[in-house]
Amino acid sequence: MIGDAGALRAALRRSRVMPRSLAGRELAIALSRPRALAIKAGLPLALAVVLVAGDAPTFWAAMLLTVLVAMVGAVGTAVTVSRARDAGFLTRLAATPGSRPRLLIGWVLAAAGIDVVQLLPVAIAAWLTGGGGATEFAVLATVLAATLVVTNVLGCVITLAAATAAEVLLDVVVLLAPLLYLGGLFTGVPAGGWRAVVAAVDPFSHLHSAFIGMLGGSATYPGGADVIAALGAALVAIAALAGLSRRILERD
C-alpha cells in the first residue's frame, strides 16, 4: 500500500503542467499552491456575501467590491513582477528571443485571467442576491474582466517606480487612490464638469456602476457605456504596456 501511495505521488508530480509560456508558468505556480488559491478565491467571496447578505447600502457595497477588485489585480501583479525583478527573472526574460511586448502582455493577461477566476464568484454572488438579470450579469462580468486587465497592467507598470517589492505596495495605493476618487467611488460622479469627464473614462467608475446595477441600485451609466469604456481602457492599458515593455524588462 505504501509503495502504491508513493507511486501515486510520483505519478501526480510527473503529471504537473509543463509550462511553455508565461501564462502556462503562472498557471503552474497557481496550481502549486492550492491553499493560497482557495484563500484568494474565498476571501473576496466571503466579503461579498457579508456585504450583500448584510443589506449594506448599494452604493457603498459596490464601492467596496470595486476597491477589492482594484487591489486584488494591481497588488498581485505588482508584487509578482517586483519579486521577479529581484530574482533576476525579468533580466533573463529580456535575454530570450521572444517579442518583449508579447511576453509581457501574455503574462499580464494570464494574471488577469486567474484574477477573473478568483473574483467571478463575487459577481455571481452579487447576481444571485441582487436581483439583476442576465444582461446586467454579462455587463458586470465583462467590465470586471476588462478592469482586471487594467489593474494588472497598472500593477506591472508601477514596478518601474518602486525600488523593492515592499515599496511597490505603497506605490499601488498611491496610484489607485486618486483613480478611485476620480471615478466617483467615494463621492458619486458629479453631473457635469471635468470630474464627470474623467469619471466617464475611468474603468473603476464603470465597474462601480455595473456593481450598483447588479445589486439592484440605480447604475451611474447605461450598461453599454460601461462595457465600451472598460474595454477601451483595457485596450489603452495593453497598448501602454507594449510601449513600456522594454523599460519594464530591462530595468535594473
Binding site: P19, A28, A87, T91, T96
Partner: protein
C-alpha cells in the same frame, strides 16, 4: 565550418570554430550616476572559446555581463554578437545570473522546461533536453520536487541548467561556481569543455581562480570598470615570479613588517588578521610560522598553495580580489 542549431530554434547559426567571432565589444561604456559601471572596454570572444571575467566586487563584471547579454544598452561603443545585433543574438544566448531564483512552487523540471521552450518549439525536444540537462547537472532525482525544497547549491545547479538547456552558441554565466560543491564544479567544468569542443562559446564572471584556470582560454581582469589585462591563464601565470604562497590567519594582527623581513619572502599583502606571503626559499616556511606565532599574535591557520590568478590580479592592480571596489 559547423552549424550550431537546435531543432525549432529561430535560424541556424553557422560558425567556423577556429576563427569566427561570437562576441565583440568595442569601446563599450555603461556608467551609472554614482560613477560605477564599466567601460571603456574592448573584448573579443571567438567561437568555441571560454573567457573569464575576474575583478573585485563592484568592479563592473555584472554590468558588463548585462550589456553582453543584450539586456542593457551601452551609452557609448558597440557590441556585436556573431556579427549581428542584439535582437538576432537572443536566439543564440543563454544566461545564468548570480542570485537568480526560480519560483519556489515550480519543480526543477517545470522551470527548466519553461526556459527551454523560449528557444525550442518542438515539445518532445524540449522535454528530452530538459530531462538530459537536469540529469547532467545532478538534479535528475530531484527534478520533480518543488524548487522551494532545493538547497542553495541545487538552486545554483538549476540556474545553470536553465541557461544551457537549449545549447546556446553563447552562454553567459555569472559566478557559476557559487554554492556548488566540488562535484558540481567538476560537472560544470566538463560541460563547459564539451561546449567548447562543439564550437560554443562561454563567458563566465568568476573569482574562483582554480575553476577559471581549469576552464578558461582567456582571462580578462577588470578594475574599476576598465580592463587591465586580457590573456591566457598560462601567459598570466608565467609572468609571476617562481615560488609558493602562504596564506596566514593570525589572531591579534599580522606582523606584516616582520614577515617582509623573513629571508626568502618576495611579497606580503596583509590586512588586520590575514597575510598572503609570496616566498621562494627552502627554510622560509618555518621562519614564517615562527614570526607569525610570536608573542602578541597567534597563528590560527596556514595554507600553502602555488601562485594563481588572484596573485596575477594583485600584481597588476596592487589590490586583492577580496577587496570591495
Amino acid at each position: 565550418m559547423s552549424a550550431i542549431a537546435a531543432p525549432g530554434m529561430e535560424g541556424t547559426l553557422t560558425v567556423t570554430p577556429a576563427a569566427s567571432v561570437a562576441l565583440s565589444a568595442r569601446a563599450v561604456v555603461r556608467r551609472y550616476r554614482n560613477g560605477r559601471g564599466v567601460g571603456p572596454v574592448d573584448l573579443v570572444l571567438r567561437a568555441g572559446e571560454t573567457m573569464a571575467l575576474m575583478g573585485r566586487n563592484g568592479c563592473g563584471k555584472t554590468t558588463l555581463l548585462r550589456l553582453l547579454a543584450t539586456v542593457s544598452r551601452p551609452q557609448r561603443g558597440e557590441v556585436q554578437w556573431f556579427g549581428g545585433d542584439a535582437k538576432a543574438a537572443r536566439a543564440h544566448l543563454g544566461l545564468a545570473l548570480d542570485g537568480a531564483l526560480e519560483d519556489a512552487g515550480l519543480t526543477g523540471r517545470q522551470a527548466t522546461h519553461f526556459w527551454c521552450a523560449q528557444w525550442i518549439g518542438n515539445r518532445a525536444e524540449v522535454a528530452s533536453r530538459t530531462g538530459a540537462v537536469l540529469h547532467r547537472l545532478g538534479l535528475g532525482p530531484a527534478a520533480d520536487e518543488p524548487v522551494g525544497s532545493y538547497s542553495y547549491g541545487m538552486r545554483r545547479r538549476l540556474a545553470l541548467a536553465t541557461a544551457v538547456v537549449h545549447q546556446p552558441a553563447l552562454a553567459l554565466l555569472d559566478e557559476p561556481t557559487a554554492g556548488l560543491d566540488p562535484e558540481g564544479c567538476a560537472q560544470l567544468a566538463l560541460l563547459i569543455a564539451e561546449r567548447a569542443q562543439q564550437g560554443r562559446s562561454t563567458l563566465i564572471a568568476s573569482n574562483d581562480p582554480g575553476f577559471v584556470e581549469s576552464v578558461a582560454d582567456s582571462v580578462a581582469f577588470l578594475e574599476e570598470g576598465t580592463m587591465v589585462r586580457c590573456a591566457s591563464p598560462r601567459e598570466l601565470l608565467a609572468a609571476l615570479p617562481q615560488g609558493r604562497v602562504a596564506e596566514l590567519v593570525v589572531d591579534g594582527g599580522c606582523p606584516a613588517t616582520a614577515l617582509r623581513a623573513v629571508a626568502g619572502v618576495l611579497d606580503v599583502t596583509a590586512d588586520a588578521g590575514t597575510a598572503t606571503v609570496r616566498f621562494d626559499g627552502d627554510h622560509t616556511i618555518a621562519a614564517l610560522v615562527a614570526t607569525a606565532d610570536a608573542p602578541g599574535g597567534r597563528l590560527r591557520e596556514l595554507r600553502l598553495r602555488r601562485p594563481d590568478l588572484t596573485d596575477c590580479f594583485h600584481d597588476l592592480t596592487g589590490r586583492t580580489l577580496q577587496e570591495r571596489a
